[in-house]
């Protein structure tokens, strides 16, 4: 009797486990499929970067309105060549300079955003002051304003501050962007008011609460802000185009040539070189960021 019961119990448990695992696999499957679907079109890029101009031309001619038939894309080039990479990495020294410009610009912006945006977000989340709602609403609206409209007045301000054509012309406005405030605010609001209240009762100063309680608990929000900020600023196009006159100060995103049939292969190569470092920085940065936040939380 008893043994039969245990067998049943075991079977039921096993079924439950199997069901659970199946669900997990299903979830993995769906997500992986979604990720694959999203990435699939991008597989064209490395392939295109390795194709010689003739092949790219043959493929693109129908799309560019030259020739009949349909475009057929080979993921693996028929005649692979490193010409485009050679041209980019060996023949154009400007590439490296622009690359480091991008790195510097992105790093400065992200660091600045953290320094400035974190306290602001904390202020909105932790304190109740008059006009908070209105001010926050203002922040949201300012975040949503299209750049096309802000271009002119920002230009005037930058001109007045003698910042036009300096890297700071792109960096400073980006640092004060209300976007990271908005995202990090979200992370902070999810902290229980009781926790901060308790800390306050324990006699912790506002600074201490911010560092001890706010930062570690708002971690995910900060992380999201940095990740999304990174993607945004790595490929920033419009601001540097408008505020940086000198090409030597440009970021890599402006190096991409106008896409035409004869330039397409080269453009693909450029975007590979934009993409790969981004992935690296991204992979490394995410870990570093997590540790960094944990570290700050512990130390202070």
């Amino acid at each position: 009797m008893g043994s039969r019961l245990t067998v049943f119990a075991w079977a039921a448990k096993a079924y439950g486990r199997w069901r659970k695992r199946k669900m997990t696999w299903l979830a993995v499957g769906i997500c992986a499929a979604a990720a694959a679907l999203i990435c699939a079109p991008l597989l064209m890029i490395p392939g295109g970067a390795l194709m010689d101009s003739a092949e790219v031309h043959r493929i693109l001619a129908p799309v560019m309105g030259e020739g009949k038939g349909f475009a057929v894309w080979h993921l693996i080039p028929l005649y692979p060549t490193l010409d485009h990479f050679y041209r980019l990495l060996v023949e154009s020294p400007a590439f490296y300079q622009l690359f480091w410009n991008t790195v510097g610009m992105t790093a400065a912006i992200l660091a600045g955003q953290l320094a400035v945006g974190l306290p602001s977000a904390w202020a909105f989340a932790a304190f109740r002051f008059r006009g908070r709602h209105f001010l926050f609403g203002l922040y949201v609206v300012l975040m949503l304003l299209p750049f096309q409209v802000m271009l002119l007045p920002q230009y005037i301000v930058l001109q007045k501050l003698h910042l036009y054509n300096h890297a700071a012309a792109v960096i400073l406005p980006a640092i004060f962007s209300t976007f990271p405030v908005f995202i990090m605010y979200r992370g902070f609001t999810q902290i229980d008011a009781e926790v901060t209240e308790a800390a306050r009762l324990d006699g912790a100063g506002e600074m201490q609460i911010f560092f001890y309680v706010g930062l570690p608990l708002g971690k995910t929000g900060i992380q999201a802000a940095v990740v999304l900020g990174f993607l945004e600023y790595w490929n920033l196009v419009e601001q540097p185009m408008a505020f940086l006159e000198e090409q030597a100060r440009w970021p890599l995103s402006l190096y991409l040539p106008q896409i035409t049939v004869s330039q397409a292969g080269f453009a693909f190569a450029v975007s590979v070189m934009v993409l790969v470092p981004a992935l690296f920085v991204f992979a490394l940065g995410q870990d570093a960021l997590e540790e960094g936040i944990a570290y700050i939380g512990v130390k202070t």
């Binding site: 031309h57 309105g65 020739g67 020294p93 002051f129 090409q247 030597a248 402006l254």
Partner: protein
Amino acid sequence: MSPGGKIREKRKNIRRGFLRTVTVMICAVLLFACGSEEEEIPMGRYADREVKLPGAGYEYMHPCADGGYYLFGNDADLTHVAADGTVSRDKWGWENSANIHVKFSYGVSDNGAVIFGYTPMFYSDEEYEAYAAEGDNRYLYYYVDEGGEQHPLALYGADYQKATNLETFAFAPDGRIYAASDSCVYRINAESGETESLFATTGQIREFAFVDDTMLALNAEQAYLYDMAGEKMLSDNGVLNEFAKSHQSGRIVLAVADGDGTKVLYLACRTGLYRYVWGGSIIEQIADGQMLALGDSQYNPYALQILDQEQFRVYFSGNYMVEMYYDETLPMRPAKELTVYSLEENGRIRYAGRLFQKEHPDVLVTYETGMDGDNAVNREDALKNLNTRILAGEVPDVIIMDDMDMEQYADKGVLRELDALLAPYEEEGVLYQNIVEGMRMTGENKIYGVPMTVELPLYLGERKYVDDIQGLDGIVAGAERARAEHPEGPLIDTPCQEDLFNLLIPVCLPAWTKEDGTLDTDRLTAFYQSAARLWELDSEGLGEEKRRKWQQDLAEEGSDLTNIMFGQYEDIYNIGETWIALGYLKNTWYGMTNLHTRMENYRNGYSYYKKLEDEPAYGRMMGQAGNVYRAGTIVGLCEKAKEPELGESFMELLLSDTMMQKWWLEGHFEGGIPIRKDSLAAILDINNRAFAEVKGWTAGDIDGIYKEAFWPTEEELQWLSDAMEESDCCYRAGTLLEENVRETGARVLAGELSPEEGAGEVERKMAIAMEE
């Protein structure tokens, strides 16, 4: 009050205080920024003047210590110009039989010894293949001693590997020769050919300088210092390294002078002339490149010579040399600035800017272009940037309106009305007034821009195909006739759809707008019908695969299929390849319509000439519009210019005979026919020796000129002058209508839309645009 309330109260106070401070700070900054700076400008700065060089074809200059210099190049003899200006040429003669194909990378010493690298000539494919199979594409070298005696140099050495090419030769004061490959610096023994590597570099060294026993080797990354006596590297010089890294646009050239007991290194590059006391910690700028030939991005400095402490010579790419001298009568920095803007780089304007700068030393001429080079900035981005500046009140003084919507800028009050300024020209009758009048805007009946040059639409072909091809229908009919007789091959020279539009739109576009400003859809439909038929006819004899190949060949030549520039394929010299040549006459200099020249007359001729079956004919291509001309370099002045007078005199310069003729004399023949009657006459004058000499075309026997010239015939000249006189309908690129017609047209030619549907779509899009 609760503790929390107190804190809150306190915080509020702090916040108020802070807000006030911030506001005050912002205001202060803004006020400071607005504050004008009125001060006396001190006098004295460097200026430059061009040095006439004793001939063409030079690519290299070696400055001698005594103030003379050597010139050398692939197509030129070694020439010495002494300090007093005496020119002597070393006619070697031996190198004609020395199997030299192309010379590269020269080095010359103070006493006239020469070292150069070259690639050999191959007389048969087998010979070349044998050479290529060795896998060693090294240059070969000659050393010519000061007596003019040549020694083939067989370079060898442990570190001198296959495929190493030496460039940047330099004769050191110790008599030895130094050179650099893309990764190493070498010392060459000219007698034995032994080549030893001294140190590795990242990238090719472009410049050597010798300071006592120290060799300075410079590239865009770093300054290498080498102790020649001790045969060892010296530690880096941070100042020079920093300089190299921060001046990467264009080359840096070096020269060394004796100071008071110390050596002084001079460096010249785009940004100016610099002085560095050897061993010191600062490099000081002594001349600003912006006001000198140094700052001209068209030229790259190749050599720097110190004449005495106040004067310098700079030799540039393009065989151009200037002398820089210190002028105490000039203000240190120009008091005024003239800003000229164009969407794309325009050589004429750049050139005029230099002329203007010379005439007005107190003015800084700034020429800005919206799009330059291959980058992500497209036309709309560039226009947006320009508009930002205009809206912010930083209006340029002169705008070149090519490829911009002139009407819009006139409507918004950006452009200045030119009628009054142009009145004197009309009185004197120096310009083709019909062309100036063609620029009149229909709305307000005023002129806002005037072109420097025009291009005239032209057809050319055998009489039986092109006879009487007035109007668009005539062109189609001619193409039908030609196709009937020649079932194979292309008819008109249009590899891409884009090319067909490039040819046809200018002569039709002015006819599409009705008097009330709306679109004439009937005419547009007719245009699409004709264009589609022409494309069909052309494709019939070509086939899909052939067309693709054709396009691809063009693409590989580096030209752009989807964005072919006007003029790339429409020059009228390829009659015979195509049966009906349509295009725009923009050169007057060789044979004009080219009808009377033949293959055998050209040394490096065109291989496409077929024998004509019938009498050739030519005439003005007519589309749907009347006597169209294509305006180029359209000069507009700004209403709110900061320096209106300077803008006016710049326009005067652009419209002057000097500018219109001189530009041609400088050897730039492309880009249209000048609208000044006297300038055009001078250019067409067969006896204009100066002009012939520049291009090496002549009717006479000027030394060093080897090509026969084919001047336009009397008949052609008469035709040209008539055509200029009757052109009254202006076509300007860059309008919204054209953009839409092109975009939709591609789909009409592809058969996706019928001509009627196409016209309908354009009408819908234009309706949205009108509503905006």
